[in-house]
Amino acid sequence: MTVSSDIPDTESWFHRNQQRIAPWLFLAPGILFFAVYVIAPVFQSFNLSLYEWDGLGEKTYVGMRNYEDLYWEYVDRDAFFTSLKNNVMWLFLYLLAIPAGLFIALFLNQTVRGIRLYKSLFFFPFVISQVVVGLVFTWFYDPNFGLLNTMLGWVGMGPINVLGNEHLVTYGIVAAGLWPQTAYCMILYLTGLNAVDPEQIEAGRLDGAKGWSMLWNIILPQLRPATFIAFVVTIIGALRSFDLISIMTQGGPFGSSRVLAYYMFEVALSEYGFRMGYGAAIAVVLFLIMLCFITYFLWSMYREEKGH
């Protein structure tokens, strides 16, 4: 085609500047929605954390007092620090999903008959809502009839009331959370393993690498992108933990399974009643923890973009 893209100036201004204006027109609806519902609320929450507010009446400016109250344990003793401590536990324990997912992926990365169905069924827990996972595990742990105690009974142990025990409860909930999360990491690694370069494996075999050394030196480096995504989604998932706690224990017993996400909800919207400013202060703390990770993720993505 020999038609020139320089259109004569009979064309409208819009036509001449199309390529500069078009991206903004395409972006406008998305940015508008996102700004109103996501970006602005972050700043509003920061602002709100400096006020005392019951959600209805007048807001009273209190400066940093909400943050001081976090320190002085406002609602009941240790509530904030228990939540913070549990969040740290969630972060570390949840990361077990990554090696566990890798392990299952290695186990299933075969080509026997029916293996595709097995892979789908192993992935199954991820598709179910956390609410149902929470219910299922609440019954699984039940001290009277739960499958866990029934099985412990077979080997002459138990019964233990996992969700009623202050020292066990967070482990119990994290275990329930690990179930779908491990399935997610598994599917990431299965996809990654599919794309591993067979020539490098052959070369490794010729060099005498097998088993662990093969996995560590040849396979894992090639799985880096999968590991990165598994890390991102697991960290986000750990800090977002809310559904399971709400369904399984409602923060109990005696507030020992609270995390910041749940504590914030409790303070702002449930029986502790409408302390919006205080809730916002808790949310800000959670946000700042998340921000460390977000910055790291974005920085990694930025390097990648520049690398291309």
């Binding site: 998305g30 995504i229 919207l269």
Partner: protein, 282 residues
């Protein structure tokens, strides 16, 4: 392939592997199988302490019949659909456009807008909770499906934009340049050139967002409260309160509530996994 294909190993290893598979699977899904077993048992089994034995009679039809014809479950399921489907359409439509804009055009703010979407997608829900609830109240949309849909569309646009933009980046750019040389307008390029090529991404995102939104619990609790608008994840707690200690019915209810995304997953498996694992392979 790693680990070493099992076919290249001894006969014994192969037999061991093949028999280990179903055992491992049963172990992995044990909590779920237990619920499935509960859901077909009669009430009498629970009062007589027969939790783990075979059902004394098969009551699957009766139990699931209760859930479907004698509880609020159908209403909650309907609400879930009426929240999920518009959200999928809205989020996919918005992000097809933002993804196109960020994937095709070169302008200074491009990467920063892209990072804004990505970062927003990672923020904890709690930092949005009070302002979003307030906004929804002010708009008169508290306890409506519309209020929930508007928020979900906005929030999911973050993840969807990330997905769409990376997908469009991988398309052959010459196609667009050729169309421009022909004098095709930008909108028509989007509609007739790029969109048809994006079908796999649209399908993958649709199933993913369907699952995410169907399974949402937090926003359902924050923005709705009654049977008129609550989706099934929030409704199941009232359902369980209604049938307190009736484990056979609660189990059947949980299975029904979990089923639509499961069906979606099995029907659209290829797209679902392609969506979830985007970026896991270079």
């Amino acid at each position: 392939m790693f680990p070493k294909p099992i076919e290249k190993q001894s006969q014994a290893a192969q037999v061991a592997y093949k028999s280990l598979l179903p055992v491992a699977l049963a172990f992995w899904l044990a909590p779920l199988l237990a619920v499935a077993l509960f859901s077909v048992k009669p009430d009498a089994d629970f009062t007589s302490g027969n939790y783990w034995g075979l059902p004394s009679s098969f009551e699957g039809a009766a139990n699931y019949g209760q859930v479907f014809f004698n509880s609020d479950m159908p209403r909650y399921l309907l609400n879930s659909f009426m929240i999920t489907v518009p959200t999928v359409i809205g989020a996919v439509a918005l992000s097809a456009m933002t993804g196109f804009a960020l994937g095709i055009y070169k302008f200074r703010a491009n990467l920063w807008i892209f990072f804004m979407f990505v970062a927003g997608n990672f923020v904890p829900f709690q930092i949005l909770m009070v302002p979003v609830r307030d906004l929804t109240l002010e708009l008169g949309l508290y306890n409506t499906k519309t209020g929930l849909v508007l928020f979900h569309v906005a929030f999911q646009t973050g993840f969807c934009t990330l997905f769409m933009r990376n997908f469009i980046r991988a398309l052959p750019f010459e196609l667009i340049e050729a169309a421009r040389v022909e004098g095709v307008s930008e909108w028509r390029i989007f509609w007739y050139v790029v969109l048809p090529l994006m079908k796999p991404a649209l399908a993958a995102l649709s199933v993913l967002i369907f699952t995410f939104i169907w399974n949402d619990y937090f926003w359902a609790v924050v923005l709705t409260q009654g049977i008129e608008s609550q989706p099934v994840t929030a409704g199941i707690t009232s359902f369980n309160a209604q049938f307190r200690a009736a484990y056979h019915l609660m189990s059947a209810g949980s299975i029904v509530a979990a089923l639509p995304p499961v069906a979606m997953f099995f029907l659209m498996q290829k797209h679902f996994i392609a969506g979830l694992t985007l970026g896991a392979v270079k």
